[in-house]
Structures are given as C-alpha cells and as structure tokens.
C-alpha cells in the first residue's frame, strides 16, 4: 500500500514527473500523482494548470517531460483505450447544427457502441435532457450544452470520466443532479476526475482532492488529512464558554497554544496540535471552573485549506 497521498492503490491513471511548458511558460511542473476509483477533485485557482493537466491525461496534449499512463498505456499510441475514457472539456466541443440526440449518438458510434439507440436514450435520460434532446445544440443554453457533453461522454459507459469544470453554466437544480450523478459514478467504482475552482462543488463531489497551484502539485488526499498535514499553519479553534477572557488568559500559559482572541464573547484559539488542545481545554476549564459548550475547528473546511495553499504562493 502506498504511503504517498498523491498516489493511490490500483491506479487507472498515472502521472510520473510530468511537466508541460508552452514556449516560456511552464503550465504544469513536475507533477507525480495517480487517480483511482471514486471521485477526485482537481482543485486550483484559475490559470493553475488544471485544464492543461486534464488535457494531458486524455492525450489531447503531450507532456513536455514525464510519463502518463491511462489504464497502463499512453493513449496517443494506443487509442483503443479511449473506449474506456470519457472527456467533458471546458470549451464548446459541440456541433451546433446537430441535435443533442444526434450528437450523443455520433459519440456512441465513434466509441463503437453496439446498441446505439438504447445507449443514446439511456445517456439522455441520465442527464435529464428529456424533451430538449431533439433540439439543435445551437439553441441550447450553456448548462444544457454541458449536460449534452456529459451524456456524450457517458454514452459508451466509460471506466474513466474526466470532467473539466462540468458545472459551469448549470442552474442549481442541474448542478445538484450532476453532482449526485458524479458521486454515483464514483461509488460504482469508476475513476471520476473533476476539475473546478468552486470549492463547495468539489467538497460535495469528491472523496479525494488534488490541489494544483501555479502548475505544481500543492496538496493531495482528503481535506482533513491535507489540513492536518499543514503543520506550519496553526489551527484556529472556536471555543464556546461562559468565561472566555479567563479561559483565554489561562490557555496562553500553555505551550501548545500559539495565540488567543476574544471576539464578541467567543474565544478563538490558535494551536499547532489540535488533538492535544482538545484534550487540554477541558482540564484547564475545570481548573478555572469554566463551562465549555462548544469546541469547533474553524479552518478545516476545503475553503480554508485552499486559502492557505493559494495564500502560500
């Protein structure tokens, strides 16, 4: 079993020391990671290199250096592997003069699907395009186009699904529907890689996160583990108590506490060791006869983690 959080056991996609540069600009730099079953969120601010990385994973662009393996092969030289890969690119990628049905059917045909009508109908149903499926894509809203692209990627029932900002332009109902769909596909054991810069979406979809900042691998793993790994950034904990100022003064004497603040009757404590603080606070509270009604880490969310990662640039 691997100990590097950037790598997974039984990977379907592997990136080994991959770098990509365009002229003088390095878009992705020395990234080593892998993807396996379940949903992995590819996270990063705009321009971090997410799209470049996803395009490399599918073989659309070649790495300048390093190796990529999808189901054990480099797709460019072994295109058969595309039978098991679906991509939803960020850009338009639809033929405006086609109806959604003919577009999805075309995708099924090119993927070598046997039951074209059945597979097309199932894909349309999966993304809930319904009656709109027989309208031309030129008249589609951005959200509907996104769903048509997802359907085209799913029509061949791929083992690997790569989605670049798939929720762009979707309304809240469509968004929820697609998030549930991606989760379900991940739960079925497929490899689903979803890029997004909307943290809330990634948090709701992903079991695991790969964070890219300035083209470099900034963090990998589940959100809590990544936060735990940020040992140089103290945790911020909210402590609800009836004696915030007394408890604050007492906690400052503890070596594991880096700082305290009392804000509108609420105590905020900064520490480098969350678990130790959790054990120590009740003891100290008992000593000063304070009552603790709440103890909650304030920055264990993906948003805080991401802020730290990006802020550290």
């Amino acid at each position: 079993m691997t100990t590097n959080p950037a790598l997974v056991d039984s990977p379907t996609i592997e990136m080994d020391d991959v770098t990509k540069w365009f002229g003088q600009k390095v878009a992705v730099s020395n990234v080593t990671c892998s993807f396996g079953s379940g949903v992995t969120g590819l996270l990063g601010p705009n321009g971090a290199g997410k799209t470049t990385m996803l395009r490399m994973l599918t073989g659309l662009i070649r790495p300048s250096q390093g190796k990529i393996r999808v189901l054990g092969v480099w797709p460019r030289t072994s295109p058969k592997v595309y039978a098991n890969v679906g991509l939803v690119p960020e850009e338009a990628a639809v033929y405006p003069s086609m109806t959604a049905r003919s577009y999805i059917r075309y995708a099924a045909t090119l993927a070598g699907v046997d039951d074209l009508d059945g597979a097309t109908a199932r894909a349309i149903e999966t993304v809930a395009l319904g009656d709109a499926a027989d309208r031309k894509l030129a008249g589609y809203s951005k959200g509907m186009r996104q769903r048509a692209k997802v359907a085209a990627a799913l029509v061949a029932d791929p083992q690997i699904l790569i989605l670049d900002e798939p929720l762009n332009g979707t309304d809240p109902v469509q968004r929820l529907h697609l998030i549930n769909l991606f989760r379900r596909l991940g739960d079925e054991g497929r490899t689903v890689v979803v890029s997004s810069h909307v943290l809330d979406e990634v948090e709701r979809m992903s079991d695991r996160v790969i964070a890219i900042v300035d083209g470099r691998l900034a963090a990998a793993g589940d959100v809590a583990a990544i936060r735990r790994a940020m040992t140089d950034i103290p945790y911020r904990v909210r402590v609800d108590t009836d004696k915030p100022r007394v408890l604050a003064a007492r906690l400052l004497e503890e070596s594991l506490v880096h700082g305290v603040a009392v804000d509108d009757g609420t105590l905020h404590v900064e520490t480098g060791d969350l678990a130790a603080l959790g054990r120590r606070v009740p003891v100290v509270a008992r000593e000063i006869d304070a009552r603790i009604t709440g103890f909650r880490p304030e920055d264990a969310s993906l948003e805080s983690v991401f802020r730290y990662l990006v802020g550290g640039r």
Binding site: Y95, A111, A152
Partner: protein, 245 residues
C-alpha cells in the same frame, strides 16, 4: 464512415450548398448564353475557353480550397477536435475519413460544374465525348487541392488565402510562364486528365489554349494517389504528434 458523413455535412451546409452549387453551374450558364448560333468549331473554342479560363483555374480551386480547408480546421477552431480524436479509432482512420469526406463533397461540386458545362456543350453541338473527361478532370484537380488543404487548414485559418495566393501567383502566373512546372499545378493535373480522355478534336484544339507539357492520364492518376496518400499520412502525423487543444 460516420466521420466521413459528418464531415460532408459540416463542410457543405445548406447555405454553402446553394452558393457553391450556383457557382459551380456558372460556367455552364455563361457558355449557354454565349454559344448561341455558333458554328461547331467556334463553340468548341468557347467551350475550351470556359474550361481553361474559368472552370479549372478559378472555380475548381476556389470551391475546393474553401471547403477542404474547413474539414479539419473548423474542428480545431470550434473546439470539437477533442470530441473526434478521443475515440477508440486509429488516427489514420480519422485522417482518412476527414480527407475522404471533404474530397467527396468537393468532387461532387466539381463534377456538377464540369458535367453541366459538358452537358450544355453536348446539347449545343451534339458532341458528348467531352462531358465525362471534364467531370473527371474537375474531380482529379479537386482531390489534389483537397489533399493539400485539409492538413493546411488545421494549421492556419489563413489556409484559403495562402491557397488562393498559390493559385493566382504560382499556378496562374509562374506556371503559365514556365510550362515545365505544370506538374506542380493541381488544376493542370485536372486539365491533363481532361486532355487525355477527351476526343482527339478536343485535345488538338486544347493545344491552342496553352495546354502544353501536360502529363499523361496514368501519370496524373499516379500523382493524385501519391498526393492523397501523403495528405492522409501528414494529417495522421499531425493528429498523432501535435497538441490538439
């Protein structure tokens, strides 16, 4: 096959079909208007004037260039290339299908133009022997242009301009002055085909139109096949080696 039929629909939508269809019929229409009451010999002169003055050196290149440059170029610029290439299909098949789709549409339009012109000439003079050779000439020239401009269209959206500059400056300028270079002129390969297969009277009369140093039919077909194969090979190479997004 699906790629070929989709390519055909892509390069020739309804509006383009009408515009290019009408353009293709223009030489026939002009010939019809200008050949009334002409003696057979004069009609042949005017017919060949249309072939070497309008149909082959202008109409065939313009129609072929615009349509073929869009076959792969539009996929790239519209962002649909990823949809096409991320499929379990060898890149050579994708390349071949794109070239084939464009070539079929271009051939159909050029055959329509050449066929209509030959037909009007046949109606006027009762000589039908030039119709099929002219259609084949247009098809051959169109295939060569298509083979050259499908891959070029991938690289630049200025392929049509570059192509027309090639036609105007090199083919209709330099090669006209230096007939030894005629093998490098695609529309002259079409003229060779026409000249080789047309009745003797037509071939003899063509000599007055500067149709010198033309290659034989076999050699023309050979060159066309080589150019088409090279084009598919180059397109395959592009799809294999280049970044596609």
């Amino acid at each position: 096959m699906a790629i070929t039929t989709t390519t055909m629909r892509q390069v020739l939508g309804l509006r383009r079909a009408v515009i290019f269809g009408l353009a293709a019929l223009a030489p026939a229409l002009v010939f019809l208007l200008t050949s009334q009451a002409l003696a057979d010999e004069a009609a042949l002169d005017r017919f060949l004037g249309m072939v070497v003055g309008l149909y082959l050196p202008l109409l065939v290149p313009i129609v072929s260039l615009i349509l073929s440059a869009s076959a792969l170029g539009d996929e790239r610029r519209d962002g649909t290339l990823s949809f096409l290439v991320l499929r379990p299909i060898p890149r050579s098949v994708i390349a071949g299908s794109k070239v084939l789709g464009a070539a079929i549409v271009v051939s159909a339009l050029n055959a329509l133009g050449g066929g209509a012109l030959g037909l009007v000439y046949g109606l006027e003079t009762g000589s039908w022997g030039a119709t099929v050779p002219l259609m084949l000439g247009g098809i051959i020239a169109g295939i060569v242009y298509t083979a050259l401009f499908v891959p070029l269209g991938f690289f630049t959206d200025r392929a049509v301009l570059a192509g027309l500059a090639f036609v105007l400056v090199f083919e209709n300028g330099v090669v006209s002055a230096l007939s030894g270079l005629s093998a490098l002129s695609p529309w002259r390969l079409g003229l060779s085909t026409f000249s080789s297969l047309a009745p003797d009277a037509v071939t003899t009369a063509l000599g007055d139109f500067g149709a010198a140093d033309l290659s034989g039919f076999g050699s023309t077909i050979g060159r066309t096949i080589i150019v088409a194969a090279l084009s598919i090979g180059l397109t395959t190479l592009v799809l294999r080696k280049r970044d596609l997004a």
